[in-house]
C-alpha cells in the first residue's frame, strides 16, 4: 500500500511540473512578443543609406608644387578621412563605421586630370592615394555641389610629406626646464574647398603643436614632426624666467634635421 507521504510527494511533483510548464509557456509568449517587437527594428536599423536619385561629377587637375602634373594617381571621394597619427597607420575615422562609404574614384591621366561619377552622402573628403601625397585631404561640404551636382576644382596643388627632427642641444649646461611650441603645416591638417576656393584649414588643431617641455631629463630634447613641404616651421621656446627665443626653418625635402642650442 502506498504511504500518504508518498502520495503527497507525487502531488507536489505533479504540481511543480504544471507550474514549470506554465512558466515555459509564459516565457514562450514573452519571447514571441519580443521577437515580434525586434523584427521591425532589425529590418529597419540595418539600412545604411546614401542619397537617392543623384549622381555628381568630380573633376580636377592634380599638380605638384612645381606645377608638374601628377599622373597615374588614384583619387577617391569618401565620407570618411584617414589619419596616420596615433600609431602611424592609416585609420579610417571621423565618422561612424556604418557611414563610411566610398563615393567614387578615378585615376589621373598624363596631364594630371581626373574626373569620376560620384555618389552623395552629405559632406565628404577627396583623397589622393599615393605614398608621397596620401596626407593631402580636401574637405568638401554638401552645399558645394549646389544644384548642378558638379565639383570642378581647376587645379589641386599637392605637397609631399617630410619627417623633420628638431633637437634641442644643451651647450650652456643650464638645468632649467624649457617650454617650446611649434607652428607648422601638419600632415593631419587638410585642405578645405569652400566658395569655389581651395584653402588650407587654418582652424586645424594640429597646426600648432601644444607646448612641449624639455631639459627635465637628458633625452627629452628630440622632437619629430610630420609636415608638408615646402613649408616653414617656427619654433618658439622659453626658459624658466620667461626669456623667449624664436627659430624658423624652411623645409624643402622629405627628411630633415635641425639642432637648436641653448
Amino acid at each position: 500500500m502506498r504511504s500518504p507521504n508518498k502520495n503527497v510527494n507525487i502531488l507536489n511533483y505533479f504540481y511543480a511540473t504544471i507550474i514549470n510548464l506554465r512558466h515555459l509557456s509564459i516565457n514562450y509568449y514573452c519571447m514571441r512578443k519580443l521577437f515580434l517587437l525586434l523584427l521591425p527594428i532589425l529590418l529597419v536599423s540595418c539600412e545604411a543609406r546614401l542619397e537617392n536619385d543623384v549622381r555628381a561629377l568630380f573633376k580636377t587637375r592634380v599638380v605638384d608644387v612645381s606645377g608638374n602634373p601628377i599622373a597615374n594617381m588614384e583619387v577617391s571621394a569618401t565620407t570618411y578621412r584617414t589619419n596616420r597619427f596615433i600609431i602611424g597607420q592609416e585609420l579610417s575615422k571621423f565618422s561612424p563605421a556604418d557611414e563610411d562609404f566610398i563615393l567614387g574614384k578615378g585615376i589621373t591621366n598624363e596631364n594630371g586630370q581626373v574626373e569620376f561619377v560620384m555618389l552623395i552622402d552629405g559632406s565628404f573628403f577627396i583623397n589622393f592615394n599615393t605614398e608621397n601625397y596620401a596626407a593631402n585631404k580636401i574637405s568638401v561640404s554638401r552645399q558645394e555641389l549646389n544644384d548642378d551636382y558638379l565639383l570642378d576644382i581647376p587645379e589641386t596643388v599637392l605637397k609631399a610629406a617630410s619627417n623633420v627632427q628638431i633637437e634641442f642641444v644643451n651647450t650652456s649646461g643650464t638645468t632649467e626646464e624649457y617650454t617650446a611650441t611649434f607652428e607648422y603645416e601638419s600632415l593631419d591638417c587638410g585642405l578645405i574647398y569652400r566658395n569655389n576656393t581651395l584653402t588650407q584649414d587654418e582652424d586645424c588643431i594640429f597646426y600648432t603643436m601644444q607646448s612641449t617641455r624639455f631639459n627635465s631629463t637628458s633625452d627629452d630634447g628630440i622632437i619629430n614632426l610630420n609636415v608638408f613641404y615646402p613649408s616653414i616651421i617656427e619654433v618658439q621656446f622659453t626658459d624658466a624666467v620667461g626669456n623667449e627665443s624664436i627659430r624658423t626653418f624652411t623645409i624643402t625635402s622629405a627628411l630633415e634635421s635641425y639642432e637648436i642650442t641653448y
Partner: protein, 269 residues
C-alpha cells in the same frame, strides 16, 4: 542562388510535373484546339534574362542577370486584354566608372498593360502588349565600398510579345522577348544627363501560362449523359457548389469529346 529564384524554379518544376500528368491524360483524349474556349483570365509565371542595352549607364555599366516576374491579365471583347505585372531582375555592375561606386542592383518594375492575343492555329498563340508603370533600381555597395544602399527610380514603358504553345486548355508555355525603356528621375551634372536620364533593357523570358477559360461559350450537341442537360436546364443560381463543379467538368469533358471526334473524322478522311 537567390531565394526568390529558387522559389520560382520550384513552382515551375511543380507545375511542370503536374502538367506532365495532365499531358498524359489529354493525349489519351487527343485534343486538338480548334474550338478552344475563350480565355477569361490568365497568370504568367516566368524567369527572364534582362540585358541592359543602349548607350546609357545601364547599357555600358550594368551586366544582366536572371530575374523573374508575374503577370495577370483579363480579357475584354475581341481578344484584347488588360493586366498588371511585377518583375524583379538581379544585375551586377560591370563598370563603376560609368554607373558610380556600387556593386549590384535589383531592378523592380510594377506596371499596367494592354494588348492583343492572336491565335495562330490550334496549338500556337502570339500576344503583344504595351505597358507603363513604376521602375526602381535598388543599388547596393559591396562591403569594401562601405555597404551603402540607395535607389534610382523612374517610369518604365515596356513592349512585351510572346509566342505561346498550348499544352492543354489550362496550361501553356511561352517564350517572351520584351523591350523596356526607363526614364529615370536621377538628378545629375549636366555632362552626365545623357548617361543617366534614360536606360533600356531587352528581356528574354520563358514561363508558364495558367489559363482560366469560359466553357459556357461552348455549344453542346447530343449530350453524353442526362446529367449535363438536366444541370444546364436548371437555373444556375439554384445549383449547389457540388452541382456547379459537376456542370463545369461535364462541359469540359464534352468539349474534349467533340475534339476527339473531329480528329478521328480528319484521320479517316
Amino acid at each position: 542562388m537567390r531565394l526568390p529564384i529558387r522559389i520560382i524554379i520550384s513552382i515551375l518544376i511543380f507545375l511542370f510535373a503536374s502538367l506532365s500528368f495532365a499531358q498524359e491524360y489529354s493525349s489519351e483524349l487527343a485534343v486538338p484546339n480548334s474550338e478552344q474556349p475563350k480565355r477569361l483570365f490568365l497568370t504568367d509565371l516566368y524567369l527572364q534574362r534582362g540585358i541592359p542595352s543602349g548607350d546609357n549607364f545601364a547599357g555600358n555599366g550594368l551586366k544582366g542577370g536572371v530575374g523573374y516576374g508575374i503577370r495577370m491579365q483579363f480579357y475584354v471583347p475581341k481578344n484584347f486584354y488588360l493586366g498588371a505585372a511585377l518583375t524583379q531582375d538581379f544585375m551586377s555592375v560591370s563598370s563603376t566608372a560609368i554607373v558610380g561606386e556600387y556593386a549590384r542592383t535589383t531592378k523592380f518594375n510594377a506596371y499596367f498593360f494592354a494588348g492583343y492575343d492572336y491565335r495562330l492555329n490550334e496549338d500556337w498563340n502570339i500576344t503583344a502588349d504595351l505597358g507603363y508603370g513604376y521602375s526602381q533600381n535598388k543599388n547596393r555597395q559591396s562591403g569594401s565600398q562601405g555597404g551603402g544602399k540607395f535607389r534610382d527610380s523612374g517610369n518604365v514603358l515596356r513592349f512585351t510579345s510572346s509566342l505561346e504553345y498550348n499544352f492543354s486548355d489550362g496550361v501553356s508555355f511561352f517564350f517572351s522577348p520584351s523591350y523596356e525603356l526607363v526614364s529615370y528621375n536621377i538628378k545629375s551634372a549636366v555632362a552626365l544627363n545623357d548617361t543617366f536620364n534614360n536606360a533600356s533593357y531587352l528581356n528574354l523570358a520563358v514561363g508558364m501560362r495558367l489559363n482560366v477559360r469560359d466553357y459556357r461559350t461552348i455549344p453542346l450537341g447530343k449530350s453524353e449523359n442526362q446529367d449535363l442537360q438536366e444541370l444546364q436546364s436548371r437555373d444556375r443560381a439554384d445549383l449547389s457548389i457540388k452541382e456547379k463543379r459537376r456542370l463545369y467538368f461535364l462541359k469540359k469533358k464534352e468539349v474534349t469529346r467533340q475534339r476527339k471526334e473531329r480528329k478521328n473524322n480528319k484521320s479517316l478522311l
